[in-house]
C-alpha cells in the first residue's frame, strides 16, 4: 500500500483512536483519562470521515465530545474525593488483561481470515445524508426503531433526572 494522504490520515486517526483508548483504560488520573477518551473519539470521527460518513463524524463530535465527555468530566469533578484513589486497577486485572487479549485474538483471527484485503463494492451514493434522513422517518424503513429510540431517550432523560436529584 503506497503512501497517500488517505493512508496517512488513516494511520494518524487510528493512532489517535487506539492511543486514546489505551490512555482511557490505563491512566490513573481520571481527568486525563477523560481527555484521552476525547482524543480517541476524535480519532473515530476522523475514521468516519475517511469512510465517507461525514454526518456521523459531526454527530460523533457533537454527541460524544460535546455532550457525553462533558457529562463524564463533570461527574469526575463532582465526585472529587475519588481522586484519592491511587491504584487504578482492581485485583483481577490480570484476568481482565487475558480476557481482553483473547478477545482481540479471536476477533482478529476471524477478521484476518475472512475480510483480508476487501475493497468497497461501490461508491457512496450522492446525498447519502438526505437518504439517511428520509430512511429514518419512512414507514417502509426505520420509522418504528426511530420512534422507539426517541422514547428511550425521553425515558433516560426523565430517569436520569429522577435518579440524580436529591
Amino acid at each position: 500500500m503506497q503512501i497517500t494522504p488517505v493512508t496517512v490520515t488513516f494511520a494518524i486517526m487510528s493512532i489517535f483512536a487506539l492511543g486514546g483508548g489505551l490512555g482511557v483504560v490505563v491512566n490513573r488520573n481520571l481527568v486525563h483519562a477523560a481527555l484521552f477518551l476525547v482524543l480517541s473519539l476524535f480519532g473515530i470521527a476522523g475514521l468516519f470521515i475517511l469512510l465517507e460518513a461525514p454526518f456521523l463524524a459531526a454527530v460523533q463530535i457533537l454527541v460524544y465530545v460535546g455532550a457525553i465527555s462533558v457529562l463524564i468530566t463533570i461527574t469526575i469533578m463532582v465526585t472529587r474525593r475519588i481522586m484519592g484513589i491511587r491504584e487504578s486497577v482492581n485485583r483481577q486485572w490480570p484476568v481482565a488483561a487475558v480476557v481482553a487479549v483473547l478477545a482481540f485474538a479471536t476477533l482478529g483471527f476471524v477478521i484476518v481470515s475472512q475480510f483480508a484485503g476487501e475493497t468497497p463494492v461501490s461508491d457512496v451514493p450522492p446525498e447519502s445524508v438526505a437518504q439517511l434522513g428520509a430512511q429514518l422517518v419512512s414507514s417502509q424503513a426505520f420509522l418504528l426503531p426511530f420512534e422507539l429510540a426517541s422514547v428511550l431517550l425521553l425515558a433516560a432523560l426523565i430517569g436520569a433526572i429522577v435518579v440524580a436529584r436529591d
Binding site: V99, F142, L144
Partner: protein
C-alpha cells in the same frame, strides 16, 4: 355516508386506529385521571365507543368489498430493517379479511357493552379483607353487619373488615381498556408475532384483573381460593401453553421465513412444503409427523392453555374470582375466544394436506378428541355447580370445546359462526349473572338494615341462596332467559341454535362419534341452563337477601338489553341456505372467502337438525320439570344430588382435578425441594460430611488427648480450619462485585467464540 366515499388509504388508516383508543385510554387513566372515578369511566367508555364506531365503519367497508377474501384490507410497515435491502425485512401490519371482519363485529360490540356495564358494576359492593398484625379484634362472628366496616373474627381466627370493592375503580377501567386494546391488536394483526403480542397483553391483563381484588379473603373459608391466587394460577397455566405456542411460532418462522398470515396460509407451495416435510426425520415412531402437523400441535397447546381446554382448563373456573365484568371480558368477548380465533386463523396450516372427506391430519385429530372430550367433561361438571358464575365458566369451556371439535372435523365456518354467537350470548349471560349477584348483595344490605343477620360467609353467588328473582329484577331475568335459551340452542329463534346446529350437521356428516358426543353435550347444556335459570329466578326466595334483591342501574341494564337483541338476531345471518328465505347462507358465503379454496356448504340434511331441536327441547323440558315446575324450598338439597348420588359429589368437585394437580405437581415439587434438595443433599450430605469430620477429629482428640495432644489437636484444628476455609473460599463466588461476574461472563463468551471459530473455520 362516510364509508361510501372512503379512499382505501383512509380505510387502512382506520384499521390501524382500531386498537389505539383503548390503549390511549389506559395510559391516560393511569397517568392522569387516576384520581377521579367519573372521569376515568368517561375516558374508557368514550375510547371503546370510538373504537366501536371505527370498527363498524371498517366492517361495513369490508362487507361492501367484493372478494374480500382475495383482496383483504391490509397495510404493513417495516418492523426492523436488517441486512442489505429493505425488502427482506420483517413487517408488521394489519389485516381485515372476512374472518377478521367477524372479529371486528363482535369484539368491539361486547367490549363496549362490558365497559358500560363495568361503570355500573364496579361502583358499589364490599368484600372481606384481612387485617394483618395490630392489636384489638373485638367482635363476634355475627357482628359483621352491626356496625359497618366493623371488625370481625372468622372461624380461621383471622381479623376481617369490609373493604370497599369500588375503591380501585379507575384502575379497573384502565386495565380492561388495556385488555380490550390487546384483543383488538390480536384481531387486526396480520402476522403471528403481532397476534402473539396482543395475546400476551391479554395474558398479563387477565392476571391483573382476575386478581384485581387482591386483598379479598373469604370468611370462614381459609382454604377457598382467593383472587390473588386465582390470578397467579391463571397466569401460570396459560404460560405453559404460551411457551409451546412461541416455540411453534419460532419454528414456523425459521421454516417459512415469514409470519404473515397471507404469505403462509394463502400460498400453495408454502403449505405444501409444510405438509410434505417430515418434522423429525430421524424419529420414525412419530409416524411421519409433518412440520405443519408439529407446528399445528404446538399452536393447539397454546390454545388449550388460553381457551382452557382439557387438561389445562382448571384456571378458568377459578378466574371467576375476578369481578364479573372481567369474567365476561375474559370468557366471552376476548381471551378464550382468542385461543379459538388462533385455531380458526391457522386452520389452513392445521389442515395442510387434508382433503375434504380424507383422513384427518394430526392436529385435526387432536382437536377433534380434545374438543369432544372437553365438551362433555365440562358440561357434566357444570351440572353440579352451586356458584352461578362457575356454571357459566364450565359451560364456556364446553362451548369452546364445541368449536375446537368443529375445527377438528373441518367445520371451519361453523366454528367461526359459533365463536361469534357464543361470544355474544355468553357475555350476556355473564353480565346477567353479575347483575344477579349485585341484586343479591343489595338485598343483603337492605335485609340487614331491616335487622336481618347473615353469616359472615354468606355467599351472594350461591344459586341456592337465590330463587324468585324473576319478579324482583325482571330486566335481568328476561335477558338472562334469552341468553340461556341461546346457550341451550332453543330452536329456530336463538343465535345459539343455528351455530350449534351447523356444527352438529357438520359432525353428523363427517364424524359420527363426535356427533354423538356433542349431541349428548348439547342435551346436558340445555339441562344445566334450565337448572340455573330455575334455581335463580323461579320459585320463591330462599333467603332474605333474595327476598329484598333489587338492581335498577341503567348502566347495567342497557348492555343486557342490547346484547339480548344480538343474542337473538346474530344467528339469523347464518341460517342454512335451504331454510333461508334469502335462499343463501350469507355468513357462510362471506367467511368462506377467508380460505384458499372455499369450502362449499353441506347439502342440507334434516336429520341432525331434527335431532338438535329434539335434544334442546328435551333438555330444557327436563330442566323445567326438575327446577321450575317444582321450585326448590329453602334448605332443600339439589334434586340432582339424589338422582346421581356419588357421581354428583364427583361432579361437584370437578372430578377432583385441582386436587390431582395439586398433588401431582405442587406437592411433588414441594416434596422434592424439601426432602431431596434440602433434607438429603443440604442437611444429609454437606452438613453430614462436616459433622462427620468434626466429630471424628473430636473423637481422635479425645482418645489421644492424654499423650500427643499437640499433633492431634493440631490435625483437628487443621481439618476444621480446612473445612472452614473451604466454605470461605467458596462463598466468594457470590462476591457482589459486578466486574467479577462480568469477567466470568466474558470468559464464557470467549469459550463460545472459540467453539464457533473451531466449528466454522478450523474444521
Amino acid at each position: 355516508m362516510l364509508f361510501m366515499n372512503m379512499t382505501p388509504d383512509m380505510l387502512r388508516l382506520l384499521v390501524w386506529l382500531i386498537p389505539v383508543p383503548p390503549l390511549v385510554a389506559f395510559f391516560v387513566i393511569l397517568l392522569f385521571t387516576r384520581g377521579s372515578k367519573l372521569v376515568s369511566d368517561l375516558v374508557s367508555v368514550l375510547a371503546i365507543l370510538l373504537t366501536w364506531v371505527i370498527a363498524i365503519l371498517v366492517l361495513i367497508a369490508a362487507i361492501l368489498t367484493p372478494h374480500l377474501g382475495e383482496e383483504p384490507i391490509t397495510s404493513s410497515i417495516v418492523w426492523l430493517p436488517l441486512g442489505e435491502s429493505l425488502a427482506t425485512s420483517f413487517r408488521m401490519g394489519v389485516l381485515v379479511d372476512p374472518l377478521g371482519a367477524v372479529m371486528l363485529f363482535f369484539v368491539p360490540l361486547t367490549a363496549s357493552m362490558i365497559f358500560i356495564y363495568s361503570t355500573g358494576y364496579m361502583a358499589s359492593g364490599a368484600y372481606w379483607t384481612e387485617i394483618k398484625g395490630g392489636e384489638g379484634g373485638h367482635g363476634t362472628t355475627h357482628a359483621a353487619h352491626d356496625e359497618h366496616g366493623g371488625e370481625v373474627i372468622d372461624s380461621a381466627g383471622r381479623r376481617l373488615v369490609k373493604f370497599d370493592a369500588s375503591a380501585w375503580k379507575a384502575r379497573f377501567m384502565a386495565f380492561i381498556a388495556l385488555f380490550a386494546g390487546g384483543m383488538l391488536i390480536l384481531s387486526v394483526a396480520d402476522n403471528l408475532l403481532m397476534l402473539f403480542i396482543g395475546w400476551e397483553i391479554m395474558g398479563l391483563c387477565s392476571y391483573l384483573l382476575i386478581g384485581f381484588w387482591n386483598n379479598r379473603v373469604y370468611a370462614n373459608q381459609p382454604n377457598r381460593i382467593t383472587p390473588m391466587i386465582a390470578g397467579i394460577k391463571a397466569f401460570m397455566t396459560t404460560r405453559i401453553g404460551d411457551v409451546f405456542m412461541l416455540i411453534g411460532i419460532a419454528w414456523l418462522y425459521s421454516f417459512t421465513g415469514t409470519l404473515n398470515f397471507r404469505d403462509i396460509l394463502y400460498n400453495e407451495e408454502a403449505l405444501h412444503a409444510l405438509a410434505a416435510t417430515p418434522a423429525f426425520p430421524n424419529l420414525a415412531w412419530l409416524g411421519g409427523l409433518t412440520v405443519a402437523g408439529a407446528i399445528g400441535l404446538l399452536l393447539i397447546i397454546g390454545t388449550v392453555g388460553k381457551s382452557a381446554q382439557f387438561p389445562l382448563h382448571t384456571w378458568l373456573p377459578d378466574a371467576m374470582e375476578g369481578p364479573t365484568p372481567v369474567s365476561a371480558m375474559i370468557h366471552a368477548a376476548t381471551m378464550v375466544s382468542a385461543g379459538v380465533y388462533l385455531l380458526i386463523r391457522m386452520f389452513p396450516l392445521l389442515s395442510a394436506g387434508w382433503v375434504e372427506g380424507g383422513p384427518l391430519t394430526a392436529p385435526m385429530t387432536a382437536m377433534a378428541w380434545i374438543g369432544s372430550f372437553t365438551a362433555l367433561f365440562a358440561a357434566t361438571i357444570a351440572m353440579a355447580q352451586r356458584d352461578v358464575k362457575k356454571v357459566l365458566a364450565y359451560s364456556t369451556i364446553s362451548q369452546l370445546a364445541f368449536m375446537v371439535a368443529a375445527l377438528g372435523i373441518g367445520a371451519y365456518i361453523a366454528a367461526a359462526f359459533h365463536l361469534m354467537t357464543h361470544a355474544i350470548f355468553k357475555a350476556l349471560l355473564f353480565l346477567g349473572s353479575g347483575s344477579v349477584i349485585h341484586a343479591i348483595e343489595h338485598g343483603e344490605e337492605h335485609a340487614h338494615h331491616h335487622g336481618h343477620h347473615f353469616p359472615i360467609d354468606f355467599d351472594a353467588q350461591d344459586m341456592f341462596n337465590m330463587g324468585g328473582l324473576g319478579k324482583r329484577i325482571p330486566v335481568t331475568a328476561w335477558t338472562f332467559l334469552i341468553g340461556g335459551l341461546a346457550l341451550a340452542g332453543f330452536p329456530f329463534v336463538t343465535a345459539g341454535f343455528w351455530s350449534k346446529d351447523e356444527i352438529l350437521a357438520d359432525a353428523f356428516a363427517h364424524a359420527p362419534v363426535v356427533f354423538y358426543v356433542l349431541a349428548f353435550t348439547a342435551f346436558l347444556t340445555a339441562f344445566y341452563t334450565m337448572r340455573q335459570i330455575g334455581l335463580t329466578f323461579a320459585g320463591e326466595p330462599r333467603t332474605a337477601a333474595a327476598e329484598e334483591a333489587s338492581q335498577r342501574d341503567w348502566r347495567m341494564n342497557t348492555p343486557l338489553v342490547i346484547l339480548a337483541f344480538f343474542a337473538i338476531t346474530a344467528g339469523w345471518i347464518g341460517i342454512p341456505a335451504a331454510l333461508n328465505p334469502l335462499g343463501v347462507n350469507p355468513f357462510h358465503d362471506f367467511v368462506a372467502g377467508t380460505l384458499l379454496e372455499h369450502p362449499e356448504a353441506l347439502p342440507f340434511d334434516p336429520l341432525p337438525m331434527i335431532v338438535s331441536v329434539f335434544i334442546a327441547l328435551t333438555g330444557l323440558a327436563v330442566g323445567w320439570l326438575v327446577y321450575v315446575a317444582r321450585p326448590l324450598k329453602a334448605g332443600q338439597p339439589d334434586p340432582l344430588a339424589r338422582a346421581l348420588g356419588p357421581i354428583y359429589t364427583l361432579l361437584e368437585h370437578k372430578y377432583y382435578f385441582d386436587e390431582a394437580y395439586d398433588f401431582l405437581f405442587v406437592r411433588l415439587f414441594q416434596w422434592f425441594s424439601d426432602k431431596v434438595v434440602y433434607q438429603l443433599m443440604d442437611r444429609g450430605l454437606i452438613d453430614g460430611f462436616l459433622h462427620f469430620v468434626a466429630r471424628m477429629t473430636e473423637w481422635i482428640a479425645f482418645r489421644n488427648k492424654d499423650f500427643d495432644t499437640f499433633i492431634v489437636n493440631g490435625a483437628g484444628d487443621e481439618v476444621a480450619q480446612g473445612v472452614g476455609n473451604l466454605g470461605q473460599a467458596f462463598k466468594y463466588v457470590q462476591s457482589g462485585r459486578v466486574q467479577q461476574y462480568l469477567a466470568v461472563a466474558a470468559a464464557g463468551l470467549l469459550m463460545l467464540a472459540g467453539v464457533f471459530i473451531w466449528a466454522f473455520f478450523l474444521r
